[in-house]
Amino acid sequence: MANMNTKHAALQALTANLLLSGDVVYWSCRGDWSLNIQDALLAATEDEVAILEARIPVEENGNDVVAPYLFPVERDEDGTIQAISQREVIRAKGPTIRTDLGKQSGLRPGPVDQAA
Amino acid sequence: MVLNKDGQKLVEDSFTLLADDDALNNDQAQILPLARFLDAVEDGSLNARTAPLGVLLAPADDTRALVDHLGKLALIAIDFPQYKDGRGFTHARLLREQLGWTGELRAVGDVLFDQLNYMLRTGFSTFDVRKAYDVEHFADAINAFTEAYQQPGDGRITVIEKRHAVG
């Protein structure tokens, strides 16, 4: 909490799970879903948040992902995107008691191959 | 579109559901919400009726309020305002099993494709199906299961009965 001031708070990102695999994904700067939180498009201003939020009903009426929602993130000094809540930290990495599973297991997650 | 158990569209269906501010018309086939029906019975406004009459049960209605009025009805419709609300299944069963209703029993509202089999089994005989896909694949849903462990309203022979059938 002490270094809170050095971070930019109140950034929002859009996340969901892929329909077929269930994998956690983030809406990316490229305008598609990515498995890597570092690709996430961050909304800072009210307008940016509104644009990101407008994506939700589009996705809910589609076939790619399940349960899209916005959640708060922050950026470290080196630009790394960090989820703030424990829940989103765990979603971004994998179970804390099985570090051999989930995204943390070593694969470099990136763009989604829907056919995979 | 209202379908019967065999997926046939009801050609004769001329019933309209009476909205709150619609006037009662004794020469038109109409479906009245339960409270309005009971009021109309009470005040005699159905006395001159020539057209068939239906009643609509909402989830919170008391099924047994119809016990003395079944003879006046050509149709009982049961509303599923949300698929999650399963009270309509109880209405149907009580009507078939305890009140002895043998006429048309229609499911209306949020009639979920995969609930059709359960509706059939609790005694519904017609189904207001809205989506084109659901109409097209109606038979798959209504006959999803060949057998049943229970017999709550459609008179079928249950698995238990088949197991112990004599001869």
Partner: protein, 555 residues
């Protein structure tokens, strides 16, 4: 155990086809998630934090070797090589793909298993005593009634869209090992003065955010009337249960808001109506009960001496085995046999988790030593219910070899722990690592045995899947502004002396929980009259005072 006939098989395989169709409609875009969701839930398929989770039913907690092997195969083929046994005697797979689930269910159907009604607002998997059929003190094998009710509740067209989920547990002994009094309906098999077997029916128990001990609604329902009676209870609940508030929708709230007397009157009235109009369809027929009962008749036990020198010798020469025998075996109704408990709580492990290799080995051991009979317990362990005393040492050695021989049944490290925030979409805090910290703190097995019976139960949110309300020590994870805190309750009990634990004081941080539990345990050990005074009796005698003092001092 029960074997499917053509009808049972037909229904389960039609369900697989139905689900396959539902998935195809979803992936083809014919239905949206909103409509698909109830279908996948009715098939036990949840979306959790990292992936889908499939919950497979283990009816009344009974598996045979072939079924266990199939679960192991499914874990390898469709998941990541492990499964998680739950407090509902079920098993969960944590990583299946949506487009694999139909195949997985098809594989399961080949061994007479399914995921029907493992979620959704319907009658869930019916649970019972894990010692059923083996324990000396039961009125009759509760699995017979369990199977009869499994069939009655499967695809019940009237009761599949209830106000909320509905859980039934059955016991047939005075020792309640099934937490019967914490279920929507608890069924206690009893014998009346005339010697007839019937059912005492308890209603409205549950945990969650409002823990309630069930009330006895009827002390003797004759066997042939059981289904009619349950129809009456379920119908009364279906019509009366609240649908305006998710948290007030369980039958425990309906009973409390209606009043037990009025609820009883309504049920009795409906019961009379059901009997009048539908008795023939819903009478529990003798011939059907007998047909099912035949599947649960005794296996071919050998005539054995009550004592075994092989067993006694092994205990004398192997202290680790002796420790296991002291905690993990229970008396069997047949001389020369024992009930063997397999702890799924190895040191440093994840409570309830078993790898495919472990499942395969348990299947082999069950085939060799226990008539291919395996049970899943609501405390997330496994049981081989019919093992000869002569075979126990060989069994334990084989178990010990793959980390399943831990001698901690009923002890402080035999915790119930929900998946918590490491997996679960509803959780507020992690549960598993908290359990692991406590486990590490009490790693010394001698100390555990010295402390004696102590049930620690951990939930990662107020839904109470980790049964914290009924833990002797209960731990509830809460979220305070994104940080995990843990509330401790003391004195809960899930057995025949059902009690809800009381909150001891302010919550502890993630890193403080193990210390707090240690303090509680030390307070008990130092304060007890003798080793005969259990933790629960001690809490009953002294109340929360000494614990508060030790935990918070003059705060």
């Amino acid at each position: 155990m029960y074997q499917y006939d053509q009808f049972d098989n037909g229904l389960v395989s039609e369900r697989v086809d139905q689900f396959r169709g539902q998935v195809e409609r979803r992936t083809a875009g014919n239905v949206l998630e909103e409509e698909f969701r109830p279908h996948r839930l009715m098939n036990g398929l949840y979306l959790q934090l990292h992936a889908y989770m499939l919950r497979v039913a283990v009816p009344y907690g009974t598996l045979n070797g072939g079924q266990m092997r199939m679960l192991a195969d499914c874990a390898r083929k469709y998941d990541k090589g492990y499964g998680h046994f739950t407090t509902r005697q079920n098993i969960q797979f944590n990583w299946p793909r949506l487009d694999d689930v139909s195949e997985l269910l098809k594989d399961l159907s080949e061994v007479e298993m399914h995921a029907i009604q493992t979620s959704g607002n319907c009658i869930r998997n019916i649970t019972t005593d894990q010692y059923a059929g083996a324990t000396p003190d039961e009125v009759e094998d509760p699995r017979i009634t369990g199977e009869v009710l499994r069939q009655w509740s499967t695809f019940h067209p009237e009761f599949s869209f209830l106000p909320r989920k509905f859980k039934i547990a059955i016991t047939a002994t005075e020792n309640d090992r099934a937490a019967m009094r914490f279920h929507d309906i608890g069924i206690e098999i009893v014998k009346n003065d005339a010697g007839d077997i019937g059912y005492a029916v308890w209603v409205g128990g549950g945990q969650g955010r409002t823990p309630v001990i069930a009330k006895k609604l009827n002390s003797f329902v004759p066997r042939q009337d059981l289904i009619c009676y349950l129809e009456a209870v379920l119908r009364t609940y279906n019509m009366l249960g609240r649908r305006d508030n998710l948290y007030k929708a369980r039958i425990k709230i309906t009973v409390n808001e209606t009043g037990v007397e009025e609820f009883t009157r309504l049920v009795d009235e409906e019961f009379a109506a059901v009997k009048q109009h539908a008795y023939e369809q819903f009478r529990l027929r003798d011939e059907e009960f007998s047909r099912v009962a035949a599947f649960f008749s005794d296996p071919a036990y050998e005539s054995l001496a009550a004592t075994s020198s092989t067993f006694e010798d092994a205990k004398a020469k192997d202290t680790r085995f002796a420790a296991w025998a002291a905690t993990n075996i229970a008396p069997h109704k047949v001389p020369g046999y024992a009930i063997a408990n397999i702890s799924l709580k190895p040191a440093g492990g994840i409570p309830g988790d078993a790898t495919s290799e472990q499942m395969d080995l348990v299947a082999d051991l069950a085939d060799r030593y226990s008539f291919s009979d395996i049970r899943v317990t609501h405390e997330q362990n496994l049981v081989l219910p019919h093992v000869k005393f002569d075979d126990l040492y060989a069994l334990w050695q084989a178990l010990d070899h793959i980390d399943l021989g831990t001698a901690n049944l009923g002890l402080v490290t035999d915790m119930i722990v929900c998946p918590g925030l490491d997996y679960c979409n509803l959780a507020n805090a992690r549960s598993i690592p908290v359990g692991q910290m406590i486990d590490a703190r009490f790693a010394d097995l001698n100390r555990q045995h010295d402390i004696g019976e102590l049930k620690v139960k951990i939930s990662g949110c107020i839904n109470a899947c980790g049964h914290h309300h009924v833990g002797h020590i209960g731990i509830l994870g809460v979220d305070k502004k994104g940080t995990e805190y843990y509330q401790i309750t003391l004195g809960g009990s899930a057995d025949e002396n059902a009690a809800v634990g009381k909150i001891v004081g302010r919550a502890f941080g993630y890193d403080e929980v193990a210390d707090a539990v240690e303090t509680v345990v030390t307070t008990y050990v130092n304060g007890r009259d003798s080793k005969e005074e259990t933790f629960l009796s001690y809490v009953g005698r002294v109340g929360l005072g000494p614990f508060k003092e030790a935990l918070y001092g003059s705060e």
